[in-house]
């Protein structure tokens, strides 16, 4: 259990925290193989992937379940080592978790610490950077308010709904002042209404904090609504099949945006693309499986 922690830590802290502009995150020729079950050949989860995330961009990675989205995001986050290829920030190759980057787990409710209250969970984001004080606690409180959880500071995670737990996870991430947020299907487990609310709040936060966001989803409507660019992944092995810019201006609106020409046209295209991928031999991964 120890070695991977040490390994991942190697690059941490070498870079000054608090650079104003987000660094450019570049994924170059990244592949991932997992040892197969039994004695079979290793499983290729990711074919070489290349991706550039410009400062302040909102990019969505779209693909069916099991195509390697989480793996790719965790490689970017420095939590999983790639089999090959490099991750770089402003041209500097990095290994392990970086202070500019924060990964939000798909299983957000498991990522909250059950022995900590909402306030204490959020404070984890500053403690870890060694700057917990009365001042930072105020910062935590105002972020809790920012994500709409005022009055819940003393609650434990299990006393909150899924959507509220996700808000705690977001507040905890923001208080650590990352430049790049890697979000793994953050809203797939909440009800439709809460999801729309959270989507709009996220867009607000994205602009307010000047973040680069990489957002993973298997829901192409969510991808169109949120992002500037959509990267479509196929499965077996995971590989980028298409990159599409979203020609819709911000601020977006749940009713108007979703009824606009551009939205509907893109929705049509992506729908066709994804279903054609499903039919291709070798791409027979169940879509929508949890």
């Amino acid at each position: 259990m120890m070695n991977w922690i040490r390994e991942r830590r190697a690059g941490y802290g070498l870079h000054a925290v608090g650079v104003d502009e987000a660094p450019t995150l570049r994924v170059e020729q990244v592949t991932k193989q997992y040892a197969g079950h039994t004695a079979k050949a290793p499983v290729q989860v990711l074919a070489p992937v290349d991706l550039t995330l410009e400062p302040g961009s909102f990019t969505t990675i779209l693909g069916p379940s099991g195509c390697g989205k989480s793996t790719l995001l965790q490689i970017m986050a420095g939590l999983v080592a790639p089999t090959d290829g490099t991750i770089s920030l402003d041209g500097r190759a990095v290994q392990g978790p970086q202070p500019e980057l924060l990964y939000l787990f798909q299983q957000y409710s498991l990522s909250l610490f059950p022995w900590r209250t909402v306030l204490q969970n959020v404070a984890f984001g500053v403690e870890s950077r060694g700057r917990r004080s009365a001042e930072t606690l105020d910062e935590c409180r105002s972020l809790i308010e920012r994500v709409g959880l005022k009055g819940y500071e003393g609650h434990y995670p299990w006393q909150l709904s899924g959507g509220m737990q996700q808000r705690v996870a977001i507040a905890r991430a923001l208080v650590a002042r990352p430049k790049i947020l890697l979000m793994d299907e953050p809203f797939s487990a909440v009800d439709a209404l809460t999801r729309e609310e959270l989507q709009d709040e996220l867009l607000g936060i994205w602009q307010e904090y000047d973040l680069t966001i990489v957002f993973v989803t298997h829901d192409f409507e969510e991808a169109i609504y949120l992002s500037q660019e959509i990267v479509v992944l196929k499965a077996h092995p995971g590989a980028i099949v298409e990159k599409r810019a979203v020609p819709i201006a911000y601020p977006r609106n749940q009713l108007h945006t979703r009824a606009s020409e551009a939205y509907l046209a893109l929705r049509h295209d992506l729908h066709e693309l994804i279903f054609s991928l499903k039919k291709k031999p070798g791409a027979g991964v169940p879509v929508g499986a949890p």
Binding site: L79, F113, S128
Partner: protein
């Protein structure tokens, strides 16, 4: 706060059966049965004195300080042993759970020593440490260390990977992950071990005193029986039962304090 998933079936008897009233009544009934069977000479009153006789003697022994003195000896040794076992068990358990290399190094030794029933060591330990306090403390430590160590170990192993990875994505190093995530996450399991060992500590302290001692409640009970003070023996046994009950009560209180977050999270008894 605690919601039963399956409602208790309502039976006729209402309040009486739905609360602990029934349980306490049963205890009272058994005591009355004891008293009556002795008085009616249903059982031999030499080996079984009446409850009232035992209770009288119990109060006498409490008043003249005999019980207090004997328990002071027993509990002092017991707590020293228990505390040492807790420090060693939690420390080694954490290290074995967290560091694969330490696990590989120590696991075979643990698995070899652990299955031996602790009382089997007593003659050996007497050989090295004599019959004094250190022997009894040592025996208590040996017995208590395993449940604490193994529960701590499995607690650490079962810390959700996501919690550790979350800490890592926030940039925490080894020591900080251990302190801020692994220790609190494993705490419920550690407490399970501590609770098992608390019972063991009392048992082993008594056994050690019965084997070789000139004080302590174990010695008192055995010596009373050998010198035909049967009523004293019963009073000692009952006092021991009460102390055991109180110790457990105290433990549950402390556990509830420390793990208050655990009460409603559905992880009880992890």
């Amino acid at each position: 706060m605690s919601v039963r998933s399956v409602p208790r079936r309502r039976v006729p008897g209402g309040f009486f059966l739905d609360t602990k009233t029934s349980g306490f009544t049963l205890v009272a009934l058994l005591l009355v049965l004891w008293e009556v069977s002795v008085r009616t000479a249903l059982v031999d009153s030499i080996s079984v004195p009446a409850v009232s006789t035992v209770a009288e003697r119990f109060i006498e022994l409490l008043r003249d300080g005999t019980l207090v003195d004997e328990f002071a000896q027993t509990l002092r040794r017991m707590f020293v042993g228990y505390l040492l076992a807790a420090i060693i068990g939690i420390g080694v358990g954490l290290l074995m759970g967290y560091f694969d290399r330490i696990h590989n190094l120590l696991e075979p030794v643990v698995e070899l020593i652990r299955p031996l029933p602790t009382p089997a060591y007593i003659p050996l330990v007497i050989l090295f440490l004599g019959v004094g306090d250190s022997m009894k403390i040592f025996i208590t430590v040996i017995a208590c260390v395993w449940p604490i160590l193994l529960n701590t170990y499995s607690g650490v192993r079962n810390v959700p990977r996501i919690q550790i990875d979350t800490a890592r994505t926030f940039g925490l190093g080894n020591a900080a992950v251990l302190r801020k995530v692994v220790v609190p996450a494993a705490a419920p399991s550690v407490f399970t071990g501590l609770r098992i060992s608390l019972t063991l500590a009392l048992i082993l302290s008594i056994i050690a005193e019965m084997v070789a001692s000139n004080n302590g409640i174990g010695y008192f009970i055995l010596f009373a029986q050998r010198s035909f003070r049967v009523t004293d023996m019963y009073a000692g046994i009952i006092a021991l039962g009460i102390i055991g009950y109180l110790l457990n009560l105290l433990f549950v209180r402390i556990e509830g304090r420390v793990l208050h977050w655990n009460a409603g999270s559905g992880r009880k008894g992890a």
